[in-house]
């Protein structure tokens, strides 16, 4: 039976969040915590694969205790099991330390049930790096397939998967061995409104929660702030784009106006890479 693990993260809703104008950092208390939207697509894709080929979907997160809510959201979408690693010693992790900790948790999940496929979101809406997925793949020494926008087929018996990857001028269809890791794009699917029985299941669900001590072969030095070589040297807000100008008049007038603006400022357009 296929075992698919989706890695998920709880993030502040950055559509609503307020920035602290003094420090330029997010005021996390100002926005509700939600399931990273890309990760909802990862879970949904896992559930679709399960529905087609049979199997079990687990989700894994590293986060503080309230992140249980994000796991419950995944159960609503249709995941079967939820695992969470939560410990003060994980705090302050950058992508390197995050992928290390998640890999240790995946090792433990493997022992419960071998993992065939790992799904991640394209990126988080708070950290935005998109590095954690490939980081996990590298540590597990399995192929990372990023920018996946379609899962064509999963052949567990033959041990391979066929997916469509988004590339700059179209997409490529590639086959990879299993197990492997996919980072999925938003367009891969639509997350439907969860069924009532799934809502009930989620309301009752208690995830498995592990601390550092529950994991094996952990090098404490590689966890959390200590294991994070990333240094934030400076944070600043990008300058707001300048006002701009509204063109008025008939469509023809407006075309004339915009043409004269372009001709007038042609150096500007050339400097930006035009010719």
């Amino acid at each position: 039976m296929l075992h698919i693990v989706a890695c998920i993260k709880q993030v502040p809703d950055t559509k609503i969040i307020k920035m602290n104008p003094k420090t330029n950092t997010m005021d996390r208390a100002s926005a509700p915590a939600i399931l990273n939207p890309y990760d909802a697509h990862a879970v949904e894709e896992a559930v679709r694969i399960k529905k087609k080929y049979g199997g079990i979907v687990s989700v894994l997160t590293m986060g503080p205790p309230p992140a249980v809510k994000a796991i419950k959201k995944c159960i609503e979408i249709g995941a079967d099991e939820g695992y969470m690693i939560s410990d003060r010693r994980f705090a302050g992790a950058d992508t390197l330390a995050t992928s290390y900790a998640l890999t240790k948790a995946l090792d433990k999940i493997q022992k419960i049930r071998p993992v065939d496929l790992i799904l991640c979101g394209k990126m988080t809406i708070d950290g935005d790096t998109g590095q954690v997925g490939p980081g996990i793949a590298r540590r597990l020494d399995i192929p990372p397939l990023t920018s996946v926008k379609k899962v064509e087929a999963v052949h567990q018996e033959e041990g391979h998967i066929i997916v469509h990857r988004k590339i700059e001028d179209g997409h490529e269809v590639i086959q990879s061995t299993l197990p492997c890791l996919l980072s999925v794009e938003k367009e891969i699917n639509e997350v439907p409104y969860s069924s009532f029985p799934n809502m009930i299941k989620a309301a009752r669900y208690d995830p498995v929660i592990w601390s550092v001590d529950d994991l094996e072969d952990v090098d404490i030095k590689q966890l959390g702030l200590k294991g994070s070589p990333t240094i934030v040297a400076k944070v600043w807000a990008p300058p707001k784009p300048e006002g701009g100008k509204m063109l008025e008049g008939s469509p023809d007038d407006q075309v004339d106006q915009i043409l004269s603006v372009i001709l007038e400022k042609k150096e500007l357009f050339q400097a930006k890479g035009g010719s």
Binding site: P32, P192, Y193, S194, S195, F196, P197, M199, I200, A203, R204
Partner: protein, 431 residues
């Protein structure tokens, strides 16, 4: 077929949560279905939570619940255009355990209250709308939700879906409200520094003040306003009968702007920042507008049953008490294995014998009375203001002379009799 429950409670406001809490505590298998993202996310209340009825559900709740401020002072402001006669009471006994009332923000409070029901074993399902009751052979046997595979079955369904309960209406329990049976209230939560609030309202930390506004607060339309202190915000709102808004062709937010800019109110709000704008209906038809509250397999509680005492701005407490009594009745019905209207009617009887029913009856004429006789708001409050102004203005005239003038200004002997009669009537409906 989907899972069965002993009871489905629709709506996680004070009524529904109190009911689910008591049911779960009594060992029933109960599911509480709420359409909002979380309980309280859409709920609106000026914010006075009455301690007694909450303690009937969770004794000593104030030790852990997210409350804003215990209220130590209640003021009543009779407003004219540029003046106000204010009276009030402040007492330190209200500032210590067990307290009297508290201001609350419902988004926080309901969420906490619901988490207590979950602790007792109730299953809370958010973000789910109940679209109709499932009726089989003349009895309610479950509900349909808007989700895939969305039907749920139970022995009893409790409708706690708030004012204008579409579910109770579709069962034929009540009709569409008339515009003079429901008030539309709008309010804002204004962020203001804690220290400024305490200075402005003459409070110590952990003390709160409520001001009820009458007369010009609603620009002459029958209704009331309020200004309450929270920890680091103020709640200000106005509520008027829908019929009044229609008659005066004024939009609710215009009325709120009016009171916010009133010279008696503006200084309290200075420097504050709008945090939230909310609007909600209040059922104010009272006892006479109450519909059917019990049927086979179904009970209606809280605002859905029109349980609001408009004169005293009480609603959440009536809601909680009705939810609690409904739960008691359902636990009894479970023992008897009988969920018929005949047995569940014990809820109605008990409710009408409790303070809820007594107050509903006592104030049955009050809103209608003030709606029928607008002179209370149009004439008497300005009259009070003029009298106070004349009396307290020191201009060399003797107080005796002033009293004579005030008396004369009130009008002819006939008008004086009319005022005396009105005063008596008002006292009778409000006492």
């Amino acid at each position: 077929m989907s899972e069965r429950f002993d009871c489905i409670v629709v709506g996680a406001g004070p009524a529904g949560i109190a009911c689910a809490y008591e049911l779960a505590k009594g060992g029933a298998k109960v599911v509480l279905i709420e359409r909002g993202e979380y309980p309280g996310s859409k709920n609106v209340m000026g914010g006075v939570l009455y301690r007694q009825m909450m303690e009937d559900v969770i004794p000593g709740f104030y030790k852990e619940a997210p409350l804003e401020r215990p209220i130590v002072e209640q003021r009543f402001m009779m407003m004219d255009k540029e003046s106000a006669v204010t009276f009030g009471y402040k007492g330190m006994e209200w500032g210590k355990e067990p307290y009297n009332n508290f201001t609350v923000l419902r988004a926080k409070f309901d969420q906490w209250f619901a988490s207590k029901a979950v602790e007792q074993g109730a299953l809370l399902i958010n973000e789910t709308v109940v679209t109709e009751c499932i009726v089989e052979e003349g009895r309610v046997v479950g509900v349909q939700t808007d989700r895939p595979d969305g039907e749920v079955y139970a022995d009893v369904v409790v409708l706690a879906d708030g004012v204008n309960s579409l579910l109770a209406k579709s069962l034929g329990f009540h009709k569409e409200y008339r515009p003079d049976e429901v008030a539309l209230a709008t309010m804002e939560i204004l962020k203001l520094d804690k220290k400024i609030i305490e200075d402005r309202f003459n409070l110590e930390p952990n003390q709160g003040c409520t001001i009820e506004l009458f007369g010009d607060a609603t620009n002459g339309i029958l209704g009331t306003g309020f200004l309450y202190t929270n920890k680091d915000s103020l709640s200000i709102g106005v509520g008027t009968l829908l019929s009044g808004l229609i008659k005066h062709k004024i939009r609710p937010y215009e009325l709120l702007e009016y009171v916010k800019n009133h010279p008696m109110i503006r200084p309290y709000l200075q420097g504050s920042e709008q945090q939230e704008y909310l609007a909600h209906l209040i059922p104010e038809g009272g006892y006479k507008s109450m519909g059917k509250v019990v049927g086979n397999g179904v009970i209606v509680v809280g605002d859905a049953a029109q349980l609001v005492n408009a004169i005293h701005r009480e609603g959440s407490n009536l809601a909680m008490t009705s939810g609690r009594i409904a739960a008691e009745t359902i636990l009894l019905a479970m023992q008897a294995g009988d969920f018929s209207e005949a047995l569940l009617d014990r809820y109605r009887v008990k409710l009408m014998n409790s303070f809820v029913g007594q107050d509903m009856k006592k104030y049955k004429d009050s809103t209608h009375h003030f709606d029928k006789f607008p002179q209370y708001f149009d004439q008497y409050i300005p009259m009070m203001n003029r009298a106070a102004s004349q009396m307290f203005t020191v201009d060399g005239k003797s107080k005796w002379e002033k009293q004579k003038k005030i008396w004369k200004d009130i009008g002819s002997p006939r008008e004086k009799i009319k005022i005396a009669r009105d005063a008596y009537r008002a006292w009778k409906v409000m006492k």
